[in-house]
């Protein structure tokens, strides 16, 4: 999966951005507003809307001199197109569910790195920070490693990307924070929480 814009497997980045913008609300928008919400230029938004309108996926109302755009929820393709456009969010939700189901629960897990920033590619790893309780025995450690390997396999099946785990206990996290490890700043900036309290809350707890 291309983490900068997963939907580009089947549609342009501009189309995906417009679909996300329109799917986020029940209302109608002027082209300029669609462009602002989608984070693209007005001319590009106009181009995308014209194309989607030709397919009937969006409806353009031209009244009183203004053109208002809305999603055609009754179109057979709309639900699927929106599902593709919101793929990244939905995959993150699926990973969240997978990690929440661990038999040995994590104290915290979060996505960081290029996938979290949205600038990854099809070759990018999904960097996942996992904070866990100290493991009390060799058996527990093996069980823990097993569940991570199993989840990595699932994530690869869903996305085509490999999970790269960074595992620490709360005490080890604390040591990293004390020594001002560069990853702490990166985590603070980019991490998307998957399991447990936010990293900021955990770091506050230790201070």
């Amino acid at each position: 999966m291309d983490w900068s814009e997963p939907a580009t497997a089947v549609m342009s980045a501009g189309t995906a951005a417009v679909l996300r913008a329109l799917a986020g609300s029940d209302g109608s928008f002027a082209i300029r507003e669609v462009a602002r919400l989608a984070g693209i230029s007005s001319s590009r938004a106009h181009q995308v809307v014209t194309n989607l309108a030709a397919h009937g996926i969006v409806i353009v109302d031209s009244r009183r001199g203004s053109r208002l755009v809305r999603l055609n929820d009754d179109h057979v393709a709309t639900e699927h197109a929106v599902a593709l456009a919101t793929l990244r969010t939905r995959v993150i939700e699926q990973i969240r569910k997978e990690l929440s189901g661990w038999k040995l629960p994590a104290v915290h897990a979060s996505l960081y790195g290029s996938a979290a920033r949205g600038d990854g590619s099809t070759d990018s790893d999904l960097d996942i920070l996992v904070i866990h309780e100290p493991l009390s025995s060799a058996t527990e450690q093996e069980e823990w490693d097993d569940q991570l390997a199993q989840s990595a396999e699932m994530i690869h099946t869903w996305t085509g990307n490999w999970a790269s785990w960074f595992q620490v206990t709360e005490a080890e996290l604390s040591q990293m924070a004390t020594s001002n490890h560069s990853l702490i700043a990166e985590w603070r900036r980019d991490a998307i929480t998957l399991v447990g309290p936010s990293l900021a809350a955990l770091l506050r707890k230790r201070s």
């Binding site: 060799a138 490693d145 097993d146 390997a149 690869h156 490999w162 960074f166 595992q167 990293m176």
Partner: protein
Amino acid sequence: MSTRERPGNRALAAARAAVAREYQQLAELVATEDRQFAHNAAAGNAVLAAIAASDAICCLKLGRYHTGEDHRAATKLLGQVRPDGPQLARDLAKVLAIKDQVHYSGVPLPDHRLRSILRSTDRLVDLAERTLTESSNKHDGSDT
């Protein structure tokens, strides 16, 4: 056969199994040191041992091995080995999962995590050698 696989014969398997044992012994040796990052170096050697052992097993059981840069793709090939492929793939995945953290993070690897990796590595290296011996016995048997 995918583009990231190459044919592998018994001679290559023997060489990879021997290399795997060397890396595994280095890993065990370094693991006994109590310097701060000795465990990271031990784990690094365990990763190399597990990859070499997996190559040997794949050559012997499937007649091909993974050649891509990302060794995690090798877990898919190892998973095809019968009857224990899924467990072997899991062992390789567990060892490879630690690679980035021990190599690049600058965070010391705790003892319990290293021990778990070494157990997985041992299983792979032992199986590579056992499979090689069995293949050797079959080979000798077919000569007589």
